[in-house]
Symmetry: C2
Subunit: 307 residues, 2 copies
């Protein structure tokens, strides 16, 4: 039987209310498995050294999903896990990861999930990662995810990552290596408040002819929070790369963007755009003339921006 | 009497054919002065330690110009010069610097000009810097300019820098610190060919309320040449900063862009755009249907891009 705290976290990060009764899943709680299931086409196998799991998706598997949420509900706990995903040729799957921390103590609750994805030829994978922190203690919630993608010929990878509240510090490191015709689309949404810190780093190698990558980052920094966005797009073949980073700053929020584009091949086409600023005065005024207070108008604009 | 080589270099980098007969100027050749003139409003004074000159523009000086070209015509010569420009309050002047190297030997001909600009309140300065290398030896032409600008309240600075041929290696370091209401516009145009290397670095601190900076870089990398563009815009007050970097790559040319924008103040508005790619096929086709050869069409597009 799961506690209400765990049920709430599961709903928030993985969209599930309880231990599922079907489908492939692995629920990790405070560093231990709280439920696991494999299916005919998706095997979840604990690594022999106990460091994490291997998720093996059979070639040709279609329209299936895997849920692998990780929860931390104890204070003074540092959970580190190494998970490897092997997506067979021609498969089409959705993976729902994500981490929820509920820390009512005064220590540090930390989860570091190091995920590697080996996406086979012509395979399609959607990877959803949601991070959330809560708890009324004065402890720190820290989530440091790493996502490393090897995208084989003509594969398609979409990664959606969201962190909207309660994570005091995060360093998010992502990399992707793209073979011929492979496409990677990464979307991240981050909101920081209080004195939180968020750092994002993308490193994409466009190695194959016809490969393409799109990075889209939208973030809001409120109160005294700070954010750093880094990206590196290396065009090593005939390829297309586009990176965009839009940030809204409020209160005393601070945001820095350090994108990098490198064309190592004459047929590489690379674009980067970044913009940092506060909400435009006219936008607020327009909504306030419709009867909203300034706070309501701000909230509506930010909701739209992070939608 | 100036040699034809020197006359040609002067015409190329400073738009003058000979030692001027009027106006403020300082002509440096192979590390020594080849002519100098001050006027009532613009004093050119050699530094006591012999390391360079001080250029002092009286407050209120209007529509005057200073020419300070530096030439290197010997091989195995490394010329280093420190020049300081003091632009008085409310002045409006044009400064034409630039460096020409003619190296017919097999050694290195190098010029490092380190320029500091102290631009007074309400002053307006246009700074033009053109770099060129020539010579039929197999020696190296190296030009490493540094430009450091302190822009006081409500001053306006425009810097135009051009390097289109003959410079084997260049590291261009520029910085600007802007007080309240100050504006700095920096435009650079670079073309590299052969196995040349060009590196550009801008570091702009938008310290004052209402300050604004615009950086515009356009470059073409041909043959096996390499370029690196770096910029850092720090918004430390209510300010506006915009940086854009467009590069055309041809042959085996390689270009990397590493821009950085940092909003340290909620009223800072910062934007960066970068694009690297080859000339679009349709553009070439369009011009070729008008009767141009592929080479002619390329040349026309590049001329337009760098105009």
């Amino acid at each position: 039987m799961l506690s209400d705290i765990i049920k709430n976290l599961l709903a928030e990060v993985a969209g599930i209310q309880n231990i599922p009764t079907a489908g492939a899943f692995n629920i990790r709680n405070n560093g231990k498995s709280a439920g696991r299931n494999s299916t005919d086409t998706i095997q979840i196998i604990p690594k022999e050294d106990g460091s994490g799991i291997d998720i093996i998706v059979k070639p040709g598997t279609k329209n299936e999903s895997v849920h692998i949420p990780a929860l931390v509900t104890e204070t003074d706990l540092h959970d580190v896990v190494y998970n490897d995903f092997h997506i067979g040729e021609g498969a089409d799957v959705t993976i729902v990861a994500g981490c929820g921390i509920h820390n009512c103590g005064s220590g540090i609750s930390q989860h570091d999930g190091i995920h590697r994805f080996f996406v086979g030829k012509n395979a399609k994978m959607k990877y959803i990662e949601k991070h959330i922190g809560e708890g009324d203690g004065d402890g720190q919630n820290i989530i440091n995810p790493q996502t490393h993608i090897i995208a084989e010929e003509n594969s398609y990878v979409e990664m959606d990552t969201v962190q909207l509240k309660g994570v005091d510090s995060t360093k998010r490191i992502s990399s992707a290596k793209l073979a011929e015709g492979a496409t990677v689309v990464i979307k991240e949404k981050i909101m920081t408040h209080g004195s939180q810190y968020a750092e994002t780093s993308f490193d994409v190698d466009l190695d194959g002819a016809g490969s393409s990558a799109k990075l889209i980052s939208r973030s809001v920094a409120r109160d005294n929070s700070r954010q750093l966005f880094r990206s590196k797009l290396s065009g090593n073949n005939a390829c297309y790369g586009h990176s965009e980073c839009d940030a809204i700053i409020m209160d005393q929020g601070i945001v820095a963007a350090e994108p990098e584009i490198i064309a190592n091949n004459v047929d590489a086409s690379l674009i980067h755009e970044a913009a940092i600023g506060k909400i435009a005065g006219e936008q607020l005024t327009k909504l306030m003339t419709l009867g909203l207070t300034e706070k309501e108008a701000e909230a509506q604009i930010i909701n739209g921006f992070l939608k």
